[in-house]
């Protein structure tokens, strides 16, 4: 009765950039299915006339004065970087071999 297949979980994991293991695919497929079954009832409650709420306390156009304030220094911003070089974040290659 599974609504979420193993392949779909693999696809979700790919979208979410998580390299899940084969074993996790089995576990998560079963659990996600169970959870989605349990939460599906939200679709049966509200009619078309009910507006959605995205935020509990309605606020619009929150402004503050546009003043120059100190921010993080370059060293501070890089202090937690897994790798840094010449004052920049060093990242693994972002283009494939063929590109």
């Amino acid at each position: 009765m599974s609504n979420i297949s193993r392949d779909e979980v693999a696809h979700l994991a790919k979208l979410a950039r998580m390299a899940v293991t084969e074993e996790e695919l089995d576990t998560f497929a079963g659990q996600l299915d169970q959870i989605l079954d349990a939460v599906a009832e939200v679709g049966e409650v509200a009619g078309d006339d009910i507006p959605p709420t995205s935020h509990a306390v309605p606020l619009t156009n929150v402004f503050r004065p546009d003043e120059v304030r100190p921010g993080l220094s370059q060293d501070e911003a890089l202090s937690g970087a897994p790798a840094a070089e010449e004052g920049r974040f060093r990242v693994p290659r972002i283009l494939g071999e063929e590109q």
């Binding site: 996790e24 659990q31 996600l32 939460v39 599906a40 409650v45 709420t53 306390v57 929150v62 972002i94």
Partner: protein, 500 residues
């Protein structure tokens, strides 16, 4: 055990500000207590003895110089949940992803505590990124409930609640997205408050579900929580969702409540929060609490909030959806864990391998659930419907608060369960939040206050009080009145310990 660890924050503040005891010896007494018991309890992920003592000595110098204390809590030490950033002090959120990370800035809550002269003893354990009800999802091992070391201390803020119950700290900070302050408070017989959404700044609170997350005060008494509430609350331009309104006078309300008169207050009992799934001892404790509120002069009426039963499913779509988006920031590029950066993997592969390694099972489940609920084709059925339910729940609250001043219910349907009992059953774990979630969805203020021990297992039960947004003071008035009538619960733990 040093006597100083047995005092309330209000009592300690009084002694420190009059020079009867120093903030440094108060802080040291709590550090000693941590050293003695935290091997068993594991409330702390990091203890910052040096930083705490330095803050304490600053307060002592001010007292010696005859200066006015920086705040009513100056010198009273505190345990800070490890989800709020602390400059130069480790902040892990209970995740391997952030192991060893030293934030370059303080959260607004942290900054306010420092400015108020509150020594920060350390960072407390939690479910990874605040996702869970037991602290078993922490990458650093669970916290244990001081009432019974084989049982859960609640979650996600189990470290904060356990530190209070174990007398390791007189005050603590928690964060509450679906009950993570209130449920831990309930199962450890301590007090925990989720303020009105936007009442306390989220700046520097590592985001899980931004429209629900709210930091708040935890203590062993209602007055202590109120004193802490006033230190951390208030408008912050660094958080665009911060409410620009005066902080409710919660300390005055707690003092007024402690006089024990609730005449003129109407209390609503939520009909939907009982029946199947609720432990008998929890329901009997709740009935006793309601009877006590009547004796205090409150008028008690039953109210129906028909959509509250849909709060749990709505929450488990909204929170994972927001979490899947928020946790995208852990991309292994700018801070935090990075694995497999050996030159053979692309940035995208490094990202995927790092997130696989750095996230625990519950975080992965929720990220995938959220990714699913937000994907085209499913968005309307899941996330869209959940947002509509959120509207209906807000309307239920509004209708109820036309009749009553506060609503009450059990905080959580069962007493603390055994570690390991529900860890492989996500749905059973989620049910712990059934009573606490509606207040998060509507942005209301809510509190858990100890309501005694369950008659069947002798474990703590919490009474939840809910008030409209920006009426946090009502929680404190009713909570303090009830606390005074009920009498201390946590003291029984001391008796249990002494009897061993």
């Amino acid at each position: 055990m040093s006597d100083l660890t047995r005092l309330t924050a209000a009592e300690l503040a009084d002694k420190i500000h009059t020079g009867e005891v120093s903030a440094a010896e108060t802080t040291q007494a709590h550090l000693d207590r941590i050293a003695a018991v935290d091997g068993d309890v594991h409330a702390f992920l990091h203890v910052d003895a040096e930083g705490a003592l330095e803050a304490a000595r600053t307060v002592d110098a001010a007292v010696a110089a005859g200066e006015r204390p920086a705040s009513p809590l100056a010198g009273v030490p505190l345990a800070l949940k490890d989800v709020l950033t602390t400059k130069g002090v480790p902040t892990t959120c209970g995740s391997k992803t952030l192991e060893g990370w030293l934030p370059p800035y303080d959260a607004t809550v942290t900054r306010r505590l420092r400015e108020a002269g509150v020594p920060i003893l350390g960072k407390t354990n939690m479910d990874e990124f605040a996702m869970g009800s037991s602290t078993e999802n922490s990458a650093y091992g669970p916290t244990r409930n001081p009432w019974d070391l084989d049982r859960i201390p609640g979650g996600s803020g189990g470290g904060s609640s356990a530190s209070l119950a174990a007398y390791e700290a007189p005050l603590a900070i928690g964060t509450d997205t679906g009950g993570s302050i209130r449920q831990p408070a309930a199962v450890t017989a301590t007090v925990g408050v989720k303020p009105t959404y936007g009442g306390v700044s989220r700046y520097g609170l590592v985001a899980f579900s931004s429209s629900l997350d709210q930091a708040g005060p935890c203590g062993r008494t209602v007055l202590d929580a109120a004193l802490l509430h006033e230190v951390i609350a208030g408008h912050d331009p660094m958080d665009a969702t911060s409410v620009d309104a005066p902080v409710p006078a919660v300390v005055d309300a707690a003092r007024e409540g402690a006089r024990g008169d609730l005449s003129g207050v109407t209390v609503g009992v939520v009909r939907e929060f009982s029946g199947e799934g609720y432990q008998g001892g929890v329901l009997r404790s709740f009935e006793t609490a309601v009877a006590q509120l009547k004796e205090l002069g409150a008028e008690v009426v039953e109210v129906s909030c028909p959509h509250f039963t849909y709060a749990l499913p709505a929450y488990y779509l909204i929170a994972p959806s927001e979490c899947s988006s928020n946790l995208a920031r852990f991309d292994a590029m700018r801070y935090g864990l990075r694995v497999a950066d050996d030159g053979s993997h692309s940035a995208e592969e490094v990202m995927s391998l790092t997130r696989e390694e750095g996230f625990g099972a519950e975080v992965k489940r929720r990220v995938m659930l959220g990714t699913y609920a937000l994907s085209s084709g499913y968005y309307d059925a899941y996330y869209g419907s959940a947002q509509k339910v959120r509207t209906l729940i807000t309307r239920d609250f509004a209708a109820a608060f036309e009749q009553v001043d506060v609503l009450v219910s059990p905080t959580t349907p069962v007493t603390p369960f055994k570690l390991g009992e529900k860890v492989d059953d996500p749905l059973a774990m989620y049910l712990n939040d059934i009573c606490s979630i509606p207040a998060n969805l509507a942005g209301n203020a809510a509190m858990s206050v100890p309501s005694g021990l369950s008659d069947e297992d002798g474990l703590p039960v919490g009474l939840q009080i809910m008030a409209p947004a920006l009426a946090d003071d009502r929680l404190y008035r009713v909570g303090a009145a009830y606390e005074a009538a009920r009498g201390p619960v946590l003291d029984k733990l001391g008796e249990l310990e002494a009897a061993k």
